[in-house]
């Protein structure tokens, strides 16, 4: 629990950060630090240079645009939890934030950090998938926007510095997530996030995020379902989505869609608190319950 020696700097603007990354492309970015610092203390990773993102104003703030919400990468989970803007415009996010670990962690953990880290059991990856977020990146070579569906990548070869960044996402070296934008879908959209919290880590042992739109005939005409905690990266339950879209929602169709989610072609992960078989078994149960919650709330 005693890290190796490292250089530390704390730029106060995005251009300043880019300067640093130009000079030191191997630098490691520090957001909330909940993944990075424990790994450094146990010397699993030994970055030579840490760049603290805490003082960069461009990475902060939650804003509402005409058709999307923008959330800065350094916005903490606690800020999401307590944001009145989000409570009104996209309550799924504050609701999900409430079940992320504990208040101390929520006070430090950032949404950008969680997405960049892309832990297999992280909560934000699934939620970002369900709401169809766009990830905005800035690098020394310019800016780009990556749809969340293209953001995660499952790679087994570790990056040179041993960090997960660049390994599990498309974020390149010398690139930073500046913000996330979430398109506001018109119509009667219902969302829910149902999570079984890992009793030790606070991550999702399994987490199911659903967003679906019902037309006036209770027919689902748009749907996104994302799963975390089950595989080495969050993924969309496309079979279940296809099953739901275009159908009138009923108990049977929810059950059918849920069963289909269990048949997704992913390799399930496991640990002593839930083997891969158990997580596979739980996925349809959790999806069914998450969908039922979303639908019931639509009917209220």
């Amino acid at each position: 629990m005693i890290s190796c020696e490292f250089e530390y700097c704390k730029p106060d603007s995005l251009p300043a950060l880019m300067q640093i990354l130009t000079m030191y492309p191997e630098a490691t970015l520090l957001a909330g630090g909940h993944a990075l610092l424990p790994a450094m203390k146990s010397r699993e990773i030994r970055p030579e240079r840490l760049v603290d993102l805490a003082a960069i104003p461009e990475l902060r703030g939650i804003r509402r645009g005409s058709d999307a919400i923008q959330i800065g990468a350094m916005v903490t989970t606690a800020e999401v939890e307590h944001s009145s803007l989000l409570k009104e415009a996209l309550p799924l996010l504050p609701d999900a934030a409430k079940v992320i670990s504990d208040p101390l962690i929520r006070n430090r953990a950032t949404i950008g950090g969680s997405l960049a880290q892309a832990e297999p059991s992280g909560d934000w990856p699934a939620i970002a998938l369900a709401v169809g977020a766009i990830i905005h990146l800035t690098g020394v070579n310019g800016e780009r926007a990556v749809p969340i569906d293209d953001f995660f990548q499952i790679e087994t070869t570790p990056a040179g510095n041993g960090l997960a960044v660049g390994r599990r996402t498309v974020v390149a070296r010398s690139e930073v997530i500046t913000h996330v934008s979430i398109p506001l879908v018109q119509g009667e959209v219902r969302r829910s996030y149902l999570k079984r919290m890992h009793p030790a880590s606070g991550f999702a042992l399994i987490g199911v995020a659903v967003a679906l739109r019902l037309d006036q005939d209770r027919r689902c005409d748009w749907c996104r379902i994302a799963i975390t905690g089950a595989a080495s990266a969050a993924f969309r339950a496309l079979k279940a989505e296809r099953c739901l879209v275009g159908t009138a929602i009923s108990g049977e169709i929810i059950r059918e869609a849920s069963m289909l989610a269990g048949e997704e072609n992913v390799e399930f992960i496991g640990d002593p608190f839930g083997s891969s078989a158990y997580r596979r078994q739980m996925l349809p149960v959790y999806l069914r319950r998450a969908l039922s919650t979303a639908i019931e709330s639509a009917l209220v």
Binding site: M1, I2, S3, C4, E5, P38, K41, S42, R43, D102, R196, M197, P199, A200, S201, D271, P272, F273, G274, S275, Y278, Q281, M282, V285
Partner: protein, 864 residues
């Protein structure tokens, strides 16, 4: 119905305390819910823990330890040259460097004739568990020291390892201490301890039912919030090393360190400052305590070591880890007639302080719990394995014993189709039977009223209506379970003679001292050592109850061998029953002396003094003789005074003459500055007591859990947890409840969440809080903690221990509730922790077996 349940729970959570706790100034009476005087400094961040200690005038050197990554490995070669050469590195030593000056660590509970595997502070030739120290570095800071560890070249030859106590006993298991094998022990069985009573074989022959089960009390991590820490500083003027240590027993540590390091005990002072949780794991001597102290002597500098969280998982003692094979015999009406058990209790790779006594005595000799069971056949095997040492952890043997008997009683009830309440009642030791010597003959219970206590728990939980609700819900496919456990345990060590016969070297007393300063403030000294219990608050209540002065006038000194000369420490829920009794006696003696001082000053005899609320006054209804004698004394004193004044021109101190009242403060001053003292009295008010209890005291209680099991996910939802403890008279109900809450949390952790697992090659699967599930606030149900009060006559306060009940009785209550919930599905056994996946798999296994047996019956019917 579900909505109702939720409301019930919500309203319980929101329920304000029945009696608001009194503020600090109202404290000082036995039985009042005084708020903790310790809290303020913790809440303000002013606590001072060992890692906060700074020796005067110098920064401590940092010691770090190279730990074996293997559970069992021979050290082929170790080369420290590169590490030694690093800038900032002061010292690098291996086991071989220390053998001359540092003796092996001793245990405190060594079974008669039991061999003791040699335990060196650094292992020289073979590492026997992951985390065992093989070299140390002392450097100018922690980072350099950690870097230097990586520069030590070491070659291991990895050997086969065994971490499970049952597997360690099987033929072909790798042997942890081959040097003992065949000579003084067989294989890994360090000692076999049999207990026999009555005629078990006959009981078995006559039994209507015999129920057998293999049980497991998993390996647990105590996990104090404050990891272990040692800071030793050398004073060149006095040649004394002062050791700050996160410890439950600073005086014992001083004695042990003096022995291991072969230094005079007066050259050591051990201070346990604020201690952030101990739970039994900070009770014993550790290699790091020895190494840091040895380095302070050697380098004549301040040296410190603070465990990292991972080191704490690897190197701090674990708890429990028993495998038990049990057989219980009963007659048709539910009378339990015999109990047979074979226990394999893990001690780890070496013997820790009380390690052997936990399975052998604390569990194996009190298996019969609250029941009259005349025939016993118990074999306890003390097992060596390649894990860190296993020793006292909150409950220390009694949770294992209680789990065994309480889950087996439920099995008997289920087998016979009887209500578990009735089976318990039928077998209880009746209130009229106390004092009661149990079949093992190891313990004589002092007092108890088990039926009354059980009834109270049943009433609070609403047993009959819960059963009715269970019936209703089952019809709707929901599985509610009601689980009971009734316990007794022994607290307040306790009868040193008896303990010594079992090889326990602590003795059984506790030291207490009450002294009064000349200004009237009171200082309370105790040999116990607080780890967050709130000792100071309770001790002040005990002393102020006798002295009738405001609590604010008292202070407590604890955990410092330089200020409190003697002590044994805090363990076995003994601080109030033994430490408190010592202080109570000291306070009484002190008040008696103060009365004599007051009487002397007021010119009466002590018998004519009435004391109340800080005022000594002359009894109104004095006898004519006493009145006459007072006049005479007053006259004599006046005369003496006049003579002095006349001859010498001085005035003797004559405070009380001519008055009827004198205050506590005046007596305190007179006690130090009187010219003459009553016959035979020395100046001062200072009483010291070594209180030696007659015997243990035996708290008891009933825990009732109501759970609902989600049969689709395996989740166990604890709806109610009722704890009705009987710890005799209650000094502070608020603190007593706090103890129950903390114990229940750890009990719930054992029942539902926690286990230290090992890979096949002996490595712990989790060595941090991300992989080991301690219960958090969100896991806890509302705990309904209540009491019955059955005093004991074994101490003057009538108190028994309450520190461990929650961790003793919560696991069987919850496990019984879950098995009760799932009994319609045919689930008859689950091992702790009841993780959802295990629950679910037990349900599907039971369903499969049931459908198979239904098929078999069906096909059988066709065949006939």
């Amino acid at each position: 119905m579900a909505a109702d349940d939720v409301h019930a729970v919500t309203s319980l959570r929101a329920r304000p305390d029945a009696a608001m706790p009194a503020g600090p100034d109202d404290a000082g009476q036995f039985g009042r819910p005084a708020r903790r005087r310790e809290d303020l400094h913790h809440l303000l961040g002013r606590g001072r823990f060992t890692d906060d200690i700074v020796a005067s005038g110098e920064d401590a050197l940092h010691l770090t330890i190279l730990r074996s990554p293997h559970a069992h490995a021979r050290i082929r070669r170790i080369d420290v040259a590169r590490a030694k050469a690093m800038p900032g590195v002061i010292e690098v030593l291996t086991g071989a460097d220390l053998t001359q000056n540092v003796g092996p660590l001793r245990a405190n509970w060594i079974w008669p004739r039991m061999p003791l595997p040699e335990h060196r502070a650094l292992s020289e030739k073979v590492a026997r568990y992951v985390g065992e120290g093989v070299a140390l570095v002392v450097a100018t800071d922690r980072y350099i020291a950690a870097d230097a560890l990586e520069a030590i070249d070491i070659d291991y030859e990895v050997l086969a390892a065994v971490t499970d106590p049952y597997r360690a006993a099987q033929a072909g298991a790798s042997v942890v201490h081959p040097e003992l094998d065949g000579a003084s022990i067989r294989g890994n069985v360090l000692q076999h301890v049999p207990v026999r009573a009555g005629n078990y074989a006959a009981a078995r022959r006559k039994a209507d039912v015999i129920v057998t089960q293999r049980l497991r009390n998993q390996n647990l991590v105590p996990g104090a919030m404050e990891p272990r820490s040692v800071h030793a500083s050398y004073d060149m003027t006095t040649d004394v090393v002062t050791i700050h240590l996160s410890s439950q027993a600073p005086h014992i540590m001083k004695r042990m360190l003096a022995q291991v390091l072969n230094v005079d005990e007066h050259r050591l002072r051990v201070i346990a400052p604020d201690v952030g949780g101990g739970f039994g794991a900070k009770l014993h001597l550790y290699p790091e305590d020895v190494l840091v102290t040895a380095m302070a002597f050697r380098l004549k500098r301040a040296v410190k070591w603070t465990s990292t969280r991972t080191e704490d998982f690897l190197s701090t003692n674990h708890g429990r880890d028993h495998v038990q094979e049990v057989e219980i015999c009963a007659t048709r009406d539910g009378t339990i007639t015999g109990l047979k058990a074979t226990i394999w209790g893990n001690l780890g790779a070496y013997v820790s302080g009380m390690g052997p006594g936990i399975p052998a005595v604390n569990c194996g000799m009190i298996l019969t719990g609250v029941y009259r069971i005349p025939n016993l056949h118990v074999d306890t095997n003390l097992m060596l394995t390649n894990t860190s040492r296993v020793d006292t952890y909150r409950g220390a043997g009694r949770p294992e014993a209680t789990y065994l008997i309480e889950t087996m009683v439920d099995r008997v009830a289920r087998r016979l189709g009887l209500d578990p309440v009735e089976v318990r009642r039928r077998n209880f030791i009746p209130p009229s039977a106390f004092p009661y010597t149990i079949a093992s003959h190891a313990f004589c219970y002092d007092s108890g009223d088990y039926p009354k206590n059980l009834d109270k728990a049943l009433e609070i939980v609403g047993y009959a209506s819960q059963r009715a609700k269970q019936e209703r819900l089952r019809k709707r496919g929901r599985y509610l379970g009601i689980g009971l456990a009734t316990y007794t345990e022994f607290t307040g060590i306790g009868n040193g003679n008896l303990l010594a016969m079992f090889g326990f070297d602590y003795g059984g007393w506790e030291y207490g001292r009450v002294l009064v300063h000349p200004t009237g403030t009171v200082e309370i000294h105790t040999g116990s050592a607080d780890q967050g219990q709130g000792h100071a608050t309770s001790y002040v209540q005990i002393v102020c109850d006798v002295l009738e002065i405001p609590a604010g006038q008292c202070s407590v000194v604890e955990g410092d061998t330089g200020r409190v000369e003697f002590g044994l420490g805090t363990f076995n829920s003994r601080s109030m029953a033994v430490g408190g009794a010592a202080l109570h006696e000291a306070a009484r003696r002190l008040l008696a002396k103060a009365k004599r001082m007051a009487a002397h000053a007021l010119g009466v005899t002590a018998d004519d003094i009435v004391y109340a609320k800080g005022i000594f006054s002359v009894r109104r209804e004095m006898s004519p003789f006493a009145q006459g004698s007072r006049v005479l004394r007053r006259g004599t004193r006046d005369l003496v005074g006049k003579v002095y004044r006349h001859l010498l021109g001085v005035q003797p101190v004559q405070v009380g003459a001519g008055r009827d009242k004198i205050s506590w403060e005046e007596v305190a001053r007179l006690a130090h500055f009187l010219t003459t003292y009553p016959n035979g009295l020395e100046p001062g008010l200072d009483e010291r007591v070594f209180h030696r209890p007659k015997d243990f005291v035996f708290p008891f209680g009933t825990y009732a859990a109501v759970v609902e099991v989600d049969v689709e996910t395996g989740d166990v939802d604890v709806r109610r947890l009722v704890a009705v403890d009987d710890c005799g008279r209650i000094i502070n109900p608020l603190l007593a409840r706090g103890q129950v809450h903390g114990g229940a949390a750890q009990g719930l952790g054992q029942a539902l969440l926690e286990q230290s697992l090992y890979t096949d090659d002996g490595r712990p699967r989790a060595a941090n809080w991300m992989g080991y599930a301690f219960p958090r606030a969100l896991h806890m149900p509302y705990i309904e903690a209540e009491h019955t009060v059955t005093p004991t006559d074994r101490n003057a306060l009538g108190v028994k221990g309450i520190g461990e009940s929650g961790s003793i009785c919560t696991p069987p209550a919850i496990v019984n509730a879950v098995l009760d919930a799932l009994s319609p599905l045919g689930v008859t056994h689950l091992d702790m922790p009841l993780l959802p996946e295990q629950v679910l798999s037990a349900i599907s296994t039971a369903r499969r077996e049931r459908s198979r047996s239904v098929d078999a019956i069906g096909s059988g019917a066709v065949a006939t």
